[in-house]
C-alpha cells in the first residue's frame, strides 16, 4: 500500500539485535474453509474478525506451479474473507496493514500513535504477512517483494509429520537473524519462540499431518519517532500435509 511504500526503509537495518518480539502476536494465515482459500486473522484457536480488516488487506497475489502470476481477488463470503484466483494457485500471499497501537501503563492498547497518547509506554505499527503453499511446485518458493517479512522453506516439504524442516526468514529480501519463530501458530501459540540464526534459518519438525502455520515476528526500528517507537512485522507460512486415504 502507499503507506508502506513511502516508508523510509533506508533507516532500517536488519541486524536482528532489536527489542524481542511479542510472544502473542496475532497474525493472518491462509486456511481452507468450505473448500475456499480463506484469510484468517487471529492466534491459536481465535479466528477473529477478518471481514472488518478486509479494507486493510493488500498485495493479494497468487502464482501457479511455474511461478507465473495468477489473478487473485478478495471476496467477502459471510464472515469470511476468501481469495478467488483466476486459475488453480500454487502459492498465494497477502498483507494486512493492522494499524498503529500504543500501549498504556496499565498494559492496555489503544489504536493511536504515541503523539496522541501522552502516557504511552510503547507505540508500534503492526503489519501482517501471509504466504500459503497450495500445491506442488516446480521451483523453489520465491521471495515475494510485498512480503517484507517472509518465511521460506529450505528444501522440499516432507510428506510426513515429525520430519525436520528448515525455514529461512527474510526481511526485505535478506536473511534475518533474531526473528522469533514458532512452529504452530494455530495449535501451539504459546510455544517457546526460537530465534533465527545468523543465516536466518530455524529448524522444526513438521508438526501436523494437516494444516501447518509457522509464524515469525521481527521488530524493526522506527522511521517516524514522533508517531511510533518501532514496527512489528508478523509473517506466516501455511502448508498442508495430506492425510491417509479413507479406508
Amino acid at each position: 500500500m502507499a503507506k508502506m511504500k513511502t516508508l523510509a526503509w533506508s533507516t532500517v537495518v536488519a541486524t536482528g539485535i532489536l527489542t524481542p518480539a511479542l510472544a502473542d502476536a496475532h497474525g493472518i494465515w491462509f486456511a481452507q474453509r468450505a473448500k475456499q482459500i480463506a484469510i484468517i486473522y487471529g492466534v491459536g484457536a481465535d479466528d477473529l474478525q477478518s471481514v472488518k480488516r478486509q479494507p486493510n488487506m493488500e498485495s493479494v497475489q497468487a502464482w501457479d506451479a511455474d511461478l507465473n502470476p495468477v489473478g487473485a481477488q478478495l471476496r467477502t463470503d459471510g464472515s469470511l474473507v476468501i481469495v478467488d484466483t483466476d486459475a488453480p494457485p500454487t502459492i498465494v500471499s497477502a498483507v494486512l496493514q493492522n494499524g498503529t497501537w500504543s500501549k498504556l501503563p496499565d498494559g492496555e492498547f489503544v489504536k493511536k500513535p504515541k503523539d496522541e497518547v501522552p502516557n504511552s509506554v510503547r507505540s508500534e505499527t503492526t503489519i501482517k504477512y501471509a504466504v500459503s503453499i497450495q500445491g506442488p511446485l516446480t521451483k523453489p518458493v520465491p521471495l515475494i517483494p510485498a512480503q517484507t517479512l517472509q518465511i521460506v522453506p529450505v528444501g522440499a516439504i516432507p510428506a510426513m509429520l515429525g520430519t525436520p524442516l528448515t525455514y529461512r526468514v527474510t526481511f526485505k529480501g535478506k536473511p534475518v537473524a533474531g526473528a522469533t519463530v514458532i512452529n504452530d501458530m494455530v495449535n501451539d501459540p504459546d510455544a517457546k519462540e526460537v530465534a533465527t540464526k545468523a543465516d536466518g534459518t530455524v529448524t522444526f519438525p513438521v508438526r501436523n499431518q494437516g494444516l501447518n502455520v509457522i509464524r515469525a515476528v521481527y521488530i524493526s526500528p522506527t522511521d517516524n519517532p514522533t508517531k511510533i517507537d518501532r514496527y512489528e512485522h508478523t509473517a506466516t507460512l501455511a502448508f498442508t500435509l495430506p492425510h491417509a486415504p479413507e479406508q
Binding site: K35, P69, D86, A87, P88, P89, L143, P242
Partner: protein, 122 residues
C-alpha cells in the same frame, strides 16, 4: 512481478488430497480427488470432457462455469469448458497431449465459490 528465487530446494509435495467419495473413473478417464470432490478428465478424439462429483453426488455442470489451464512444456493455454448433460463439461475439439499439466477451475454461478484441481496427464 519479479521474484528472487531463494536458495536450494525444489519440489514441494504438499497437496490436499484424498476424497471421501467414489474415486474410480466412471467414464474411462483420469481421476483427481480434492477433499470430497472427484474430478474425472476424459480425453477423446472429439475433445475433452470433465466430470465432477461431490460427496458422492453429481454436480450439475449447468450450475458452474469452468476452464482448463493446460501447460505443455513451455506452452500454456486456457480452454473454456461448456456445460453439457448432468455433471459433464465439454471442450469440443480440444486436444491435450500426454505429459501436460492441466489445472481445472470451476466456479459456482450462484455462490462464486471456486474449486480447483491439477491433473498430470498420463
Amino acid at each position: 512481478m519479479k521474484f528472487t528465487l531463494f536458495a536450494a530446494a525444489l519440489a514441494i509435495a504438499a497437496v490436499p488430497a484424498y476424497a471421501h467419495g467414489d474415486d474410480k473413473p466412471r467414464h474411462g478417464g483420469q481421476v483427481v480427488e480434492v477433499g470430497e470432490t472427484v474430478f474425472e478428465l476424459v480425453r477423446a478424439p472429439a475433445g475433452v470432457s470433465l466430470y465432477m462429483m461431490e460427496d458422492g453426488d453429481e454436480v450439475p455442470s449447468a450450475s458452474m462455469t469452468g476452464k482448463l489451464v493446460v501447460t505443455t512444456g513451455s506452452q500454456k493455454s486456457e480452454i473454456p469448458l461448456v456445460a453439457a448433460k448432468g455433471n459433464q463439461f465439454v471442450a469440443k475439439g480440444a486436444n491435450i497431449p500426454s505429459g501436460s499439466r492441466v489445472g481445472v477451475l470451476v466456479i459456482n454461478k450462484q455462490t462464486q465459490a471456486r474449486q480447483s484441481a491439477t491433473f498430470a496427464i498420463k
